[in-house]
Every structure is written in structure tokens, then in C-alpha cells.
């Protein structure tokens, strides 16, 4: 069937506002960005940018601060993934019991997700720097007396802690939805057959909600890898530490490293090359995610 002229006009007319914005805001900057990463781009509009080939990428291999940031981000993402999922799953198990306040608990644990990471990070910065040391004094708990944010290692865990606190309630709700889909009859039948709570969890609930684990693992991994807001407001990349004989920022995750490279150190080309590497890692993660989710569907 040939489309009528009216249908064509309406098609392009209705599509054009989002398509135009999409081309201008995502497609063109993306193409420019990949191109710029192979040049001496300075961020100045209209300046001619000499082609340098893979030079920017080769420089990345020698930059210790980038290497360190990459490693910290990878470690941070993996640790966060495990912690968030663990906390979220335990919370989900709790709030799916017949508790009186379960709706309040669910909403309460979810609440930090509607507040911006920047603001939550500042609140927690105050808690770590002022409230917890005071609590440590009052209760004579030695390790609380010093701010966790002052030491490279504890600052890393403070970051994991705050993001887990923020995000667990969200992941919890996905587990809650999965747990509610586990057929009640199956659990009752197992209970009649003499399976204890632990056995029911291990042999019925866990296998039934396996797809939710896959979804949540990737969700938390990818989001942790992209972390920026809490990083900025909680630690700002601080404190400094040494890595392979060079001073680096202990908690500077990749997103912040990219931002700092371009806007604080004014090295746009190198920052953009880092951003392209960042993109490639995330694209691979996304492909793995699609692959594993599909595989799960077939199995079910």
C-alpha cells in the first residue's frame, strides 16, 4: 500500500522535533567526539584541530592517574555491585514478610532514590566529617573518631557505603517484584514436605528469581561505573595518595577523571579519548547484559 501524502507529512512532522533534538544533542556530538579524540582538540570553537591519529590513546597508556582511576572504578563497581545486591536482597526478603509496617519500610528504603546524588553526598560528607566522629567520642569507638573520608582506603568504602545506602532500596523493589512472582503453592508444598525456611530459599526462591539477579547485577555494575554525582559531593576525589610513585586522587572515579582532565586541566583531546574508552567499556557491558538476559529467557 502506498502511503498517502498526508501520512508522510504527519510522519515527518510528528517525528521531527525529537529527531532534530536527538541529532543535534547526541548524534552529532557523538561523531564529533570520536573524531576529536584523534586530534589535538582544544575545546575552542572553530579552532583547527590537527589530526594526531592514536597519539591521545597512546598517551593514556602512560598516564598513571588514568590507570589508577580506571582500576579504582573497576574495583568500586564490582564491590558496589555485590554490596548493593546483597543489602537489597536481604531488605527485599524482610519487606515481603507479613510485617505490620512493610509498606512504610518499602517506601522508606526507596526514598533516597528520588533525591539527587549530589545532595545526598553532601549530607553524608557532613555525617562522616562531623556527626560520626562526635559519636565516636561519646561512645569511645576509636575508628569513628577520625573521619573515614580522610584516609584513602576508608574513603573508598565510604563511597561504596553511601551509594549502596542510596541505591539498595531501588534494587530491593525489583527483588520484591520477583519474590512476589514466586508461586506461593510451591513454597507451601515444600513446607509440607518438610523443607525448612533455608531450604525453601535455597532450592525454590533463589532459582525462581535468578533473572532478577542478572538484571540487577548489570544495572548496579553499569550505574556504579558511571558514578559521578556522589563522587563529586562526598569525596571530590580526595584524599590524595601515591600510585607507582606518582601522586593520584584516591577516590577519583573515571567519570570525574574525564571531567577533570578536560575542564580542570584543560586537556580536551585527552579527556575525550578517555571518554571514548569509557564508552567502549560500557558498550561491552551492555552487549553482555543483552546476551545474558536473552540466555536466561531461553532457559525459563
Amino acid at each position: 500500500m502506498r502511503q498517502s501524502t498526508e501520512a508522510k507529512v504527519v510522519f515527518w512532522g510528528f517525528l521531527s522535533p525529537t529527531l532534530f533534538a536527538f541529532l543535534m544533542i547526541i548524534v552529532i556530538p557523538f561523531i564529533l567526539g570520536v573524531y576529536y579524540s584523534f586530534t589535538e582538540w582544544t575545546g575552542v570553537a572553530g579552532a583547527s584541530n590537527a589530526w594526531v591519529g592514536l597519539q591521545n590513546y597512546a598517551d593514556l597508556l602512560r598516564e598513571k592517574r588514568f590507570f589508577y582511576s580506571f582500576a579504582v572504578t573497576a574495583a568500586y563497581s564490582l564491590v558496589s555491585m555485590v554490596v548493593i545486591n546483597l543489602v537489597a536482597f536481604v531488605l527485599a526478603l524482610l519487606v515481603t514478610q507479613e510485617l505490620k509496617g512493610r509498606n512504610i519500610y518499602r517506601a522508606g528504603f526507596f526514598l533516597p532514590n528520588v533525591i539527587g546524588g549530589l545532595i545526598l553526598g553532601y549530607i553524608w560528607q557532613f555525617v562522616f566529617n562531623s556527626a560520626l566522629p562526635r559519636l565516636g567520642d561519646l561512645l569511645s569507638i576509636g575508628f569513628l573518631r577520625k573521619s573515614m573520608l580522610a584516609d584513602p582506603r576508608t574513603a573508598f568504602f565510604a563511597l561504596v557505603f553511601v551509594v549502596s545506602w542510596q541505591y539498595a532500596g531501588y534494587i530491593m523493589m525489583i527483588y520484591v517484584a520477583a519474590l512476589q512472582n514466586v508461586p506461593q503453592e510451591l513454597l507451601e508444598a515444600a513446607a509440607i514436605d518438610g523443607a525448612g525456611p533455608w531450604q525453601r530459599l535455597r532450592h525454590i526462591t533463589l532459582p525462581m528469581i535468578a533473572p532478577a539477579f542478572t538484571v540487577n547485577s548489570f544495572l548496579t555494575l553499569v550505574n556504579s561505573f558511571k558514578q559521578f554525582d556522589v563522587n563529586v559531593s562526598l569525596t571530590g576525589g580526595m584524599p590524595t595518595t601515591t600510585f607507582a610513585g606518582e601522586p593520584v586522587f584516591a577516590t577519583e572515579l573515571l567519570a570525574m577523571n574525564i571531567y577533570n582532565t578536560a575542564l580542570a586541566m584543560n586537556d580536551y583531546a585527552r579527556g575525550q579519548a578517555k571518554a571514548v574508552v569509557f564508552f567502549v567499556v560500557l558498550a561491552v557491558l551492555s552487549l553482555l547484559q543483552v546476551y545474558f538476559n536473552k540466555k536466561r529467557e531461553v532457559e525459563l
Binding site: M24, P29, L32, G43, R106, G116, A275
Partner: protein
């Protein structure tokens, strides 16, 4: 039976305790927002001596020339609401024609939107800023440091997921409904605005919630497109600028943070079911 009751009571207590611990940072936030500077230093954990200090802090915040809280709140409201209107309306329009037109072009465009969801903000942010500057040079239309520039950027970043959500919903709407309206003499745009748009309400709620929470809280895009200290600034920018600039006046910072989260928290309490469902659905599908 009695054992089960004791077990549930124990669980209730554990959960309630966890819940209280979970909210302890908010306690710290609220009590310190209502203290004097001296009190914040001497007694962080306790309740404020007098709640009247709150008014003094509030006045200090509203009058603070670095924070410009009132103006920033207004800008945040303008940016969020305008972005939501354009994202929801234009995404619904695009999704509808993409579903109802069976052609290679429409499949390609839709796949492009889906694929673009993988692109992280970091890879486009730097060239975006200089591209916006180039547009200014070529057309004379300023894109940076303006409302329309930022709202246009939100349309670009927000429409992919929104189109995807609308697309999924529209596929389930029977085509006969539209054909009947066409026979009755409706033009295609009329079919969309009179028949389809009202049916889309449940997805529209999801789209508004997802984008609304993201835009209201967003920090990096406004930071790049508006900049700290600009005439137009959002609440997160204002707070980041305020904290970064001077000696840290924590009692004022706490109150500013509290004021920033109150609207979202109130909205959340009013519509928590919709918000939780919308946020969970949106991200799991996307």
C-alpha cells in the same frame, strides 16, 4: 503458631531498627539545619536548643547572594516543567508515528533511539558544549547559559527512553479505534490529539516521573550548559557553588539541602506507588 508469631515480631523489630538507622542521616540533616553555627560545632547530634534559629537560618539563606535560593528554585521549576512538557508531548508523537508507520525508515529510526541509550553522557558532553558554541557562532542563537538551550538538550537526552516506553504501550492499542475515527472524518493529527493522547495517560505518568526526578536532580548537564555562578542556575548548581566557594557554613548548607529535598520528598509521599512503579519499570525496560 506461637513460634511463628515470635519470629515475625523479631523480624519486625530488626526491620524497624534498620529503618531507623537508614533514616539517621536525615535526622542529622534536619536538626543541624535548625541550629546556630556555634551549636553545630559543639553539639552535632542533639536536638536544637531553640527551633526559632530555623527562621534566622532561613532568612540568611534567602538573602545569601551566592546561593540565590529563590531564583535558583524558580529556574529549577521552569527547566524541569518545560522539559517535561516537550519530552512527553514530542516523544508520544514520535512513538505514535513510529508504531503506526510500517517502513524501513521508521524501523531504522526506532532502532537508532534504542541503540543510543547505550551512549553514556560522558562521551558526548565535551563536544556538545563546543558544538553548542559553534551553533551560536553560525546562527546567532545562544544555546549555552539559556533556558531554551538546556531544555532542548533535555529533549535530546530524554526522548530515547520516553519514545521507547510510549512505543511499547502504543503497540497494544487496537488500530481499529483509529480507523473508525478516520472514517468519521478525523484527520491524523486529530486522531492523535483527541483519541490516542488521552489513552496514553498511564505511560505519560511514568515518563513524567522518570524524567522529572532525573532533571530536577541533575547536576552535570546544567553544570556544563549553565555553569556555576551564571544568572540562570538550578538548585543543585546553586548548592554546589555555595559549598565550594567560602568557609563552610554548615548550618546554612544543611538548611539549603533540606529545602532542596523537601519538594521531591513531599511529591514522593503523595504519589509513592506511581513513583516506585514508574522508576522500577522505566529502568528495567530501558
Amino acid at each position: 503458631m506461637r513460634r511463628r508469631k515470635a519470629y515475625l515480631l523479631l523480624l519486625e523489630l530488626v526491620t524497624a531498627l534498620l529503618f531507623v538507622l537508614y533514616f539517621s542521616p536525615f535526622y542529622i540533616l534536619v536538626v543541624n539545619a535548625f541550629k546556630s553555627r556555634y551549636e553545630v560545632l559543639t553539639d552535632v547530634l542533639g536536638l536544637p536548643d531553640s527551633w526559632s534559629q530555623a527562621m534566622a537560618n532561613l532568612r540568611a539563606i534567602l538573602a545569601n547572594p551566592n546561593l540565590r535560593f529563590g531564583a535558583s528554585a524558580l529556574s529549577s521549576v521552569i527547566i524541569t516543567s518545560c522539559s517535561l512538557v516537550v519530552i512527553a508531548l514530542f516523544s508520544a508523537m514520535a512513538a505514535w508515528v513510529l508504531v503506526r508507520t510500517r517502513s524501513r525508515v521508521s524501523t531504522f529510526v526506532f532502532m537508532m533511539y534504542v541503540a543510543a541509550m547505550v551512549i553514556p553522557f560522558q562521551v558526548v558532553m565535551l563536544p556538545l558544549v563546543s558544538w553548542m558554541r559553534m551553533i551560536h557562532q553560525w546562527t546567532g542563537i545562544p544555546m549555552l547559559r539559556t533556558y531554551h538551550g538546556l531544555i532542548f538538550a533535555y529533549l535530546g537526552f530524554g526522548s530515547s527512553l520516553s519514545i521507547f516506553l510510549y512505543h511499547g504501550f502504543i503497540k497494544g492499542i487496537p488500530k481499529e479505534l483509529e480507523e473508525a475515527a478516520i472514517i468519521d472524518g478525523c484527520s491524523r493529527p486529530q486522531v492523535f490529539f483527541r483519541i490516542i493522547l488521552p489513552i496514553l495517560r498511564p505511560v505519560t505518568v511514568t515518563v513524567l516521573i522518570l524524567n522529572g526526578i532525573w532533571i530536577w536532580n541533575d547536576f552535570l548537564l546544567p553544570l556544563l550548559m549553565l555553569g556555576i555562578g551564571n544568572e540562570i542556575q538550578t538548585i543543585p548548581l546553586a548548592i554546589a557553588g555555595f559549598i565550594g566557594s567560602f568557609v563552610k557554613q554548615w548550618e546554612l548548607i544543611m538548611l539549603a539541602l533540606l529545602l532542596a529535598i523537601v519538594p521531591v520528598v513531599v511529591l514522593f509521599l503523595l504519589a509513592q506507588k506511581h513513583i516506585i512503579r514508574g522508576m522500577v519499570e522505566g529502568s528495567v525496560k530501558g
